[in-house]
Amino acid sequence: MNREKRYVMVVDTRLCVGCKACVLACKAENNTPDGYCRDWIVEDIWGLFPNLRAEIRSERCNHCSNAPCVDACPTGASHKVDGGIVLVDHDLCTGCKACIASCPYDARYVHPDGYVDKCTFCAHRVADGKTTACVAICPTKTLHFGDANDPQSEVAQLLASRRHKVLHPETGCEPNLYFLT
């Protein structure tokens, strides 16, 4: 059967210790300039001492199915490729920053070279059949990457069996970064 792929990342917040290995592995893999990151760790704490609850999330571009950045881009630089991965074509980008403003997750930034940059789901690795750098490094197996449209995939099974959420579903962007809770 020839179905369209939908790459997603599944983040198990129960396992994540917020060690930031994903952040640094991404920086090393993608040669991200100093002072910038494509993924990051958020820690949320609810409550008052001693009744506290914590959630740690490894966040990045959501590669939204209904991506506002792609819509906002005047030149076609922000675009979708196979599996729904959202990429920025450096050659087409004017650095107008409309995409940055359009992203509810603030996942993008201007690369010092002028173009807008962000997580690529390591598309260059995925094309080689490898997983993303952040997934590969993760010591707690918090991160999972794969094709949600393939029912046999780990991500599809996790989403089928575990309680999960996305961030800001109210934006209607249909994000593809899922958080197991």
């Binding site: 002072g35 820690e43 949320d44 030149t75 509810p104 603030d106 800001h168």
Partner: protein, 317 residues
């Protein structure tokens, strides 16, 4: 129910993104302001020149459309300055992306140039035309334009309206910014553009009828602007947590002081009052009122631009 979120930390420290989004500075504020002003100038000059006049219009009216193009070029210059990848500016014109207001804007701007330039020729009085024809072989063009006068003025008017709304939509479609997530922004920027256009013309010598008309139009625009701002705030009040956040910035947050003092009081209320007095008492308050209106228009863009960038979803639970 979730207990209150008390502590939120992130490792992300991307420049211009964190801790608060700040990707657009004065360049875009100026661009939006000049865009609105140009829109206003094009609309008003088209309306004022709609019917051919027997008397030569005042000098500023003759040159208004061409002046608008100069201002538009300045605005585009500001936009250009903001681009992070300036060498790729031509990429705006190797694509048309109907979902992207930025793309629409880029194309509207280039479409406006020929239309407004032709209107500009029409607006010129006999002396100016004669002078121009001596310098440039435009006789045929001018004749053609005269034949299409209504159509050209109509197109200029439409272009102005499009440009005015576009400057608002540019921000308004960026719904990730809660502050901009309001349908009012397009009409608000258009109205503000009209009022700025009127104010700009009022800075110059006009004949009494035009002047009177423009003052009245400006007053009307200012009132509509005030109503739209009220509508925007009311809209926020009815939009849950996100609206609360959007309203907070203007009603009790970082941007409250500048918004109320510069935009509402100095940019709308005081000029309205002064123009009211001017109309009633026939007092010539030449430069002060229009200057305030123009500064108010610039402040409106600057404040909403800054407050809006600062109002991301990250602030919501």
């Amino acid at each position: 129910m979730l207990p209150t979120l008390l502590e939120h930390t992130t490792t992300r420290i991307n420049a211009e993104i964190d801790p608060a989004l700040h990707i657009w500075g004065w360049e875009i504020a100026v661009y939006l302001f000049l865009g609105g002003l140009v829109a206003g100038l094009l609309i008003l000059s088209s309306l004022l020149l709609w019917k051919p006049r027997e008397q030569t219009p005042s000098r500023i009216l003759q040159f208004a459309p061409l002046l608008a193009l100069v201002l538009l070029s300045l605005g585009m210059g500001a936009l250009f300055l903001d681009l992070a990848y300036k060498l790729h500016v031509f990429r705006f014109y190797t694509a048309f992306r109907p979902t992207s207001p930025m793309s629409w804007g880029a194309w509207i701007l280039v479409l406006i140039y020929p239309v407004a330039a032709l209107s500009g020729l029409l607006a010129l009085g006999p002396d100016a035309r004669a002078w121009l024809l001596k310098k440039l072989p435009l006789a045929k063009v001018l004749a053609w334009a005269e034949r299409k006068r209504q159509a050209l003025l109509g197109a200029t008017l439409a272009g102005g309206v499009g440009l005015g709304i576009y400057t608002g939509l540019l921000l308004g479609t960026l719904t990730a910014r809660i502050q901009w997530n309001t349908a009012v922004l397009g009409p608000l920027f258009l109205t503000s553009g009209l009022s700025s256009g009127a104010a700009f013309l009022l800075l110059f010598k006009l004949d009494e009828v035009d002047r009177h008309r423009l003052v009245r139009w400006d007053m009307l625009a200012l009132v509509v602007e005030a109503v739209l701002i009220a509508a925007m705030l009311l809209g926020f009040a009815n939009a849950g947590a996100a609206g609360q956040l959007a309203a907070d910035a203007l009603l009790g947050g970082a941007w409250t002081a500048s918004f109320w003092s510069l935009v509402v009081v100095m940019g709308i209320a005081v000029p309205l009052l002064l123009e009211g007095i001017e109309i009633k008492k026939h007092l010539p308050l030449v430069a002060v009122t229009p200057t305030l209106v123009l500064l108010g228009g610039l402040a409106l863009r600057a404040v909403l631009l800054a407050a809006g960038q600062d109002s991301g979803f990250r602030m919501l639970p």
